[in-house]
Symmetry: D2
Subunit: 327 residues, 4 copies
């Protein structure tokens, strides 16, 4: 492998707060180490189409606090084909790019691993997704911000819930992982939290809601992850409770895409800055196929393949804490 | 009419940010003028049930910045019956209450007018609803806060919309009135705003979205009021556009009840403080059947009957501004 | 006066939230009416230096929610000289600019009036300053946002004040005008408000603080405008109280420049959008020397000369409300 | 040691966001395990004065999201005397309290250690301070919230800094520890960060600011910790730079006490919930003299004595990242 002099950076998959801070960090680290940095628009699709832009330290002024991604993101069916990946590689060769930093989730990393196998092209991954469902890091970029967004929204909903003695079902994001639901649920003081990892059973929920009312609570919030195991979606859950607990006036709120946006929290900005620097330093040290992540407040690396395969187990202690909090 | 020495205060109908600030103002104004103040829980229902609490100046410490209402709110079917209102009046007589401040919307004021007719009981109304659909005031309590809440949420959605070149339909509150949709739409820089007052037609919307894309906009936000005139709800609208403009990737977000909660804006806190004082002063001056409101930054009064009947016309100039902004 | 085909826009004086929204509105209104729009950097200084940029409808995407001003702002001593203004005019002629929209405060308008007298150059002013000290408009751009920023900061300070039973002196902006202090003070539930318009006297403040403690309040907030009439600055005031009321533990917080920044409120964004359109329409109608403003929720115009001369009287009713609220 | 049936909880020292969430957690955990919970007002001073309140699970409804502390906090000189501590112990015996949870910083823990030595009274500490300067936990309660508060304020200041091409010195809290300055500085994209742990030298700062301007940055933010090693306070620093770099227009902003208040972040609420449960469980298991904390996202314990003695080293990698970011 020759010397790395020109590094590409892209954001791929669903966007998350902190992606811009990570782009800024990659660009500034390149400038610091006197490597060139090329931005690739719309993830792998832009790679295939050669949609590139040269980035200097000044190109990324005043983006550390912006949600979304200045490089845009997209899904690319074409990159799933051998033909598409070949075009992508030709563009990289033509533009004399020597390595790639991919900011995204496990779908994006899977694409990177295949691409690296086929073309021996150096790739480092930075975990960017609000779902926190990636092995090899305690926190993904955007997760902390999404938690604050969810909790602030639920705080507002609680104002009206408690004014009207109502029961609210609030759906938060996290299709296969209950991290947001569990943490935002505890943070918002939810009476009940339904997550995909745990099948608590609908009867148990009814019991818990009855208990909560007996305990003198006049309003309640149930936080539900998108893909919870009950098999019912949030509207069906609400109907089920209304039918079985007619004393409750039930309302539903789906927080939706606002959880993906907004100015990143300080935590996500600092994390993005640290991971971006490490990603560039690894490439300059001729490392490849690694994901940078955080563990015990230290920056660590994991092989991309492990990061894809490994799950990120939910914290069972926190479920127990949640239970105790709803006494 | 004898001297007013004991004044009741209640919140009724849907809650809105600033209701607590108004309660505080009524309570403190009573204390200032050496009248007693009695809080009535859960609106007219609490009046019927005699669910009262004595409030002193210190009872309302640190509530000016809280969403919701410490007196709770509820709908009361019983108050729609002569029997219910009779019970309510008996409670007022028994507790020696001489007048009532009702913080709520036009439904609450209608109840107040009927009650006053039947029992000659002095009532002053304070307009509290996020919808701004009440005649006799330029701003209802909570409207300004709800606008900021909506705009901040749409700002977040725009982050993700522009990162993915998507079209978002965002539904905001306001069942019969497009105030929130029109103002939050302009404030959030929406490409299109659909409100109940205007039937712009679905074809016009399609044309506008096509124009917007031709003009080089890669992402778009359409703000839709709950009860817009198209007759389609926001999910049907989204589907309609997806079918007719397949180049768009469409998403829906319903902001929902979070718009009712949250710490009130400075504007709503100041408005609540001014209206609460005026309501008490009017009662002490033996005035009744009036709503206090704001016009040209002055506190004014309108008869409750007018306030109920009159509509609050949408600002057509703002529709035109919105049109120009989407050039 | 010939036909207006090319309009310049600048921001001048201290920046305020909503200036970007106003720039966007001017640019989009020009595009709508098929006039060209030229941005002038750093106010009058950029005019003198010919620091211009062509602005299209797309140049102002995604700035409606940004604080500060993309055109930057500066003070210009050179523009106070005849020589400087001559250079400015030469640049305007050379670049074939036919009219100017100046977003700023009364200092900026004064420069505009002089310039218009000397060169008959059409100018419309948009009031942009957080201080709300301009005649001819109920609200200046940025004022509403600054109030919310101040109130949110004071809410945080109250948390710690009431946890420690402390007295806080909080200084807010507004050198010659007490608008921010009076409204943010009422909005934050301050026990005392000191503004330049009113010399309440230091003894009266001591009495009021003593009364407040006797009334059972264990913590207190005093909001002070930068230029209050007591002649003492906020640190001296704090010391004065500590010496005279030793039972109080006193702290000072100066909110400072954060009050000038941040995403504009919905109100300021809508106001900016309306005023920008009107400014362009006036110029295209060959009007000049006017300031656009808001009165009774309608867009109105005032001659620039009046706008400069006239003051904007403080709302004495609000002082009275503040007094009642601290019962 | 007998069975623990009645547990006291207090907040002591400077307040921090999350203290209420921790109180709630202690109270609810007591209820869950069927122990009584007694709140002690104003820390050790309230212990001496017997200022106690009985707390049930319902007493702590809706406080998880509130800044400050419902139990108030205070410094107590009397508790530093043997006499004072004796009174405190007598109150505990009289009210049949068997153990104490102290939420506070190292000063509060020192008092606890002495008290435990003298009276063998079981004590568990929960680290609550925004400064993050306590050994035995990666995060103290309130630190994450304070970072977000600081970063949001600096974001606002940057709006006005970049509109006017100014240099701002922003002082953040953290008298002996630079955690807030270092992390908020990186998070806010500061050009320079001055912390007590590092004496970078004033000349180095001047060089760095010159470099930054040469690199094309027209505005700059320098974040300064209260107690930075330069020996100059933030106003002197600003003056020093103005004298040596006259091309800069310099401004100062001291963020001050607002950093201690506000609704806690989701992180701080979850941390508080976890630590409160653990504290109660430890006491019920007859453990004492421990501080609960977080390490690698697990709840751990440290002896109070170690927690007091040990420092919490600043992350030097982050200083390096900060350096690279200002390229």
């Amino acid at each position: 492998m020759g010397k790395i002099k020109r590094i590409g950076v892209m954001t791929s998959g669903g966007d998350s707060p902190g992606m811009n801070a990570a782009i800024r960090s990659v660009v500034r680290a390149c400038a610091y180490y006197r490597a060139e940095c090329i931005g690739i628009y719309r993830g792998y699709q832009g790679l295939i189409e050669g949609d590139f832009v040269s980035l200097t330290a000044r190109s990324v002024n005043n983006i550390i606090n912006k949600g979304g991604t200045i490089l845009k993101s997209a899904r690319s069916d074409e990159f799933r084909t051998k033909e598409g990946r070949k075009k992508a590689h030709e563009n990289l060769v033509e533009h004399e790019l020597h390595a790639l930093v991919v900011i995204g989730g496990d779908g994006s990393f899977t694409g990177g691993v295949i691409f690296n196998k086929e073309f021996k092209f150096p790739i480092i991954g930075i975990p960017g997704t609000i779902d926190n469902d990636i092995f090899g890091t305690s926190h993904t970029l955007g997760y902390d911000t999404a938690l604050n967004t969810a909790v602030e929204a639920i705080d507002k909903i609680r104002d009206t819930a408690s004014s009207h003695n109502r029961l609210f079902f609030v759906e938060v994001m996290g299709r296969d992982a209950g991290f947001i639901a569990l943490n935002a649920g505890v943070g918002a003081g939810a009476e009940e939290i339904l997550i995909p990892e745990e099948d608590l059973g609908l009867k148990r929920m009814l019991e818990s809601l009855k208990k909560s009312r007996r305990a003198g609570k006049s309003s309640s919030i149930v936080v539900v992850a998108e893909g919870d195991k009950s098999g019912k979606n949030v509207y069906e859950l609400a109907q089920y409770v209304e039918e079985n607990l007619p004393e409750y006036e039930v309302r539903v709120s789906v927080l939706g895409h606002m959880q993906r946006g907004g100015a990143p929290s300080c935590f996500d900005r600092v994390l993005a800055s640290r991971l971006g620097v490490k990603a560039v330093e690894l490439l300059l040290d001729n490392e490849t196929n690694l994901m940078v992540g955080l563990k015990n407040n230290e920056v660590i690396t994991t092989s991309l393949e492990e990061a894809i395969k490994g799950g990120h187990a939910i914290n069972m202690e926190l479920l127990r804490v949640s239970d105790i909090m709803t006494t």
